[in-house]
Assembly symmetry: C2
């Protein structure tokens, strides 16, 4: 019997959702000789490997059968306690206000499932974190970008868009934003909080990088603004300060929404891995993670310095770059009508990779932007990578006969 | 400023979804003196703790930085290889046909997200696994139960309901079903496969317990039927044969649907925990998991025997029970108009717990049913638990003035 080819039906919710271009680029550039500024990954050489080995060994030796058994959807008490203590540095929090998630990506997804109906609007920064848009889109949301300046979302624009769209929530990454690396200063945070409180708008505040600060004073999350915590869902992750391979993050929230999120989590996967939760809790309880993060930040700072100092020499004259005080990313706008998606293949040919900026925009992308991660390469390698990027940019400009004069703004 | 109480908006998809009654019962009966037949959990005392300790230690010692870093959404190659080799005992499979999931619950959820649009029908066994219904309902599906007999779904009913509802897929647990413990014999599997092929209907085949066989001959999954694999999604899990706390399972599929499932998984949580994936792969590669499962099954068999032999002495005359050849559950129908939800509080008072059967029905529940797990208690404890259950049943019958005569079928 000859059968017709088989095709599975695919749900409409997935028809508009594409694979993450970052993940796709990462798989293409697994070529060992490509210097990658593309990843959104921490430097594995800086992981506290011995401490984490000890934590896993301790858990399996002393809590082994518990660590291997089913457990609660909300998360292991020891981890919720550690998480609450960390959040409470800025926002009063109890362990009961912590829902453990498998990384903050799961947190974003669960928040979307818990709050969003088809057609609901979510306001996000322009540009914003790709996989958050992916998660909210899967929940049926329409994503609208809020214009930003060097201090984050523009308050007047935020208020205007809230009035126009009555969004289900506003999604912000106020500290060392992905992809731009910019940080919202305290006065702007207050303005934003006042608008959200006045308009009764939910805030989903994503803070995976906040502790990776190199320069400037620490800032409390917007959730810490008086009156804000009850209408905010604050997401943290251990991925950038401990390790992403253990998939440990959490959502801090108040009231019955926690129950709703837990029911969604039951359906999505019952619970997070117990071994990893207990190992993370043991590590946080017994090691000085803040000291570890300071060491990591000191190394990342040198790398940021190398990239930030080198970039102006290799970018076209009209290009602009951000000056991150922490986190992992730097954002460049090349101008000159350059489409960075077209630049990428030339760059990979030269042996360097980045992420084109367009996918980070919910709509109306600026095609001349790109995201550069500085954390996984040494200053020397960064310098070499920038030299390669320089060659790629020059080839691209020549290929498209684009003058490096700042007046030109079209691809011909 | 006095604020009105704050209420988060909740998505409609969660309004009809309740927390798992099993998880709720489990949290109520954490009282140490209650003998629990309620859990769907393996016996932690039988975990291969030393082998798993060694596997985690090996991975963190030899692949530590990789194990702690981000990795692919599809899963670690070593684990996909081990999974493919196990599936290939029945269905030819390559590592590329394996999508790693965080337990098979995540697999069920991803399958729902990938295939189901709002209003789509899913056909399930009557009764079926609660959390699968929860996952499919969150994706917007309407769940319709297929009448079953002691051999699983009734083929004529399956064909009739497919014709009537054009379901997006049929969800079956053919081996040691949850909650009934029944197994579909080979001839019935062939009949079901022929119907699914003839009608071009997708099968989602859930097989978490299949290897926990005590008696009878092993049966290939329905997916192994000639021509069936391409239109089937086969789900396996290590939760019942290795340990659930590591959250490792997989979906075996063919063709572009794998890409769709991977995109859904990106949005849900990027990837599964790498440490656990690599430890599971190392364990499967270096230990004799089949020998381990045989040991576990031998212990579970004694417990099944104790429960199966004891139950007829304590249940009312008209009650029926299933005779599982493996897995974890036994299903009883008490008849006599008994509502097992009303029986449960009396049972807990006597110091024994079970799961009332009604929630396992997608609709039109049989309230006189209940699920009993025999795997976490020794034969002696099972005997004591059954004595307690006997007292609870007698109290319940007296309280409701129900005669133990099989003719009565009303609660007065």
């Amino acid at each position: 019997m000859t059968q017709e080819p088989w095709t599975f039906p695919v749900a409409q919710r997935l028809e508009g959702v594409h694979s993450s271009p970052v993940r796709d680029i990462l798989s293409i550039i697994s070529r060992g000789d490509v210097i990658s500024f593309a990843g959104g990954i921490p430097d594995a050489d800086l992981f506290a490997l011995e401490d984490l080995q000890a934590a896993f060994a301790h858990v399996l030796a002393h809590q082994g059968r518990r660590a291997l058994q089913y457990a609660s959807t909300e998360g292991e008490p020891e981890l919720r306690e550690q998480a609450a203590a960390r959040v409470a540095r800025n926002v009063p929090s109890t362990p009961e206000q912590i829902q453990v998630t498998s990384g903050s990506q799961e947190g974003l997804y669960l928040v979307g499932q818990a709050l969003l109906d088809a057609g609901d609007v979510v306001l996000v920064e322009r540009p914003t974190y790709l996989a958050a848009v992916q998660a909210f889109t899967l929940a049926g949301a329409r994503i609208i970008g809020i214009p930003t300046d060097e201090h984050g979302v523009v308050p007047q624009e935020l208020e205007r868009l809230i009035g126009e769209h009555r969004p289900k929530f506003v999604y912000l990454i106020p500290t060392f934003q992905n992809p731009t690396g910019t940080t919202m200063p305290a006065p702007r945070r207050h303005q934003v909080a006042e608008i959200l409180i006045r308009t009764g708008t939910v805030l989903v505040e994503d803070d995976p990088y906040g502790q990776l600060r190199f320069t400037g004073e620490p800032l409390a999350p917007i959730t810490a603004h008086p009156g804000m915590a009850r209408q905010s869902l604050l997401l943290n992750s251990l991925s950038k300060i401990v390790a992403p391979g253990i998939r440990v993050g959490w959502v801090r929230a108040e009231g019955p929404i926690l129950r709703t999120i837990a029911i969604a989590k039951q359906a999505v996967g019952l619970q997070s891995a117990v071994v990893d939760q207990l190992a993370a809790a043991h590590y946080l309880a017994t090691c000085d993670v803040d000291a570890h993060v300071r060491q990591v930040a000191a190394v990342y700072k040198e790398r940021r310095d190398a990239m930030h100092a080198g970039l102006p020499h290799i970018l076209p004259p009209a290009a602009t770059i951000t000056s991150p005080d922490g986190g992992m990313f730097l954002w460049a706008r090349l101008g000159h009508g350059i489409d960075t998606a077209g630049l990428l293949p030339l760059a990979v040919e030269e042996g360097v990779a980045f992420v084109p900026g367009a996918p980070f925009y919910a709509h109306d992308p600026d095609h001349s932007t790109l995201r550069l991660s500085y954390v996984t390469n040494t200053p020397e390698v960064i310098t070499e990578g920038l030299a390669r990027l320089h060659r790629a940019i020059r080839s691209h400009l020549q290929e498209h006969r684009i003058s490096e004069e700042p007046t030109s703004n079209n691809i011909r």
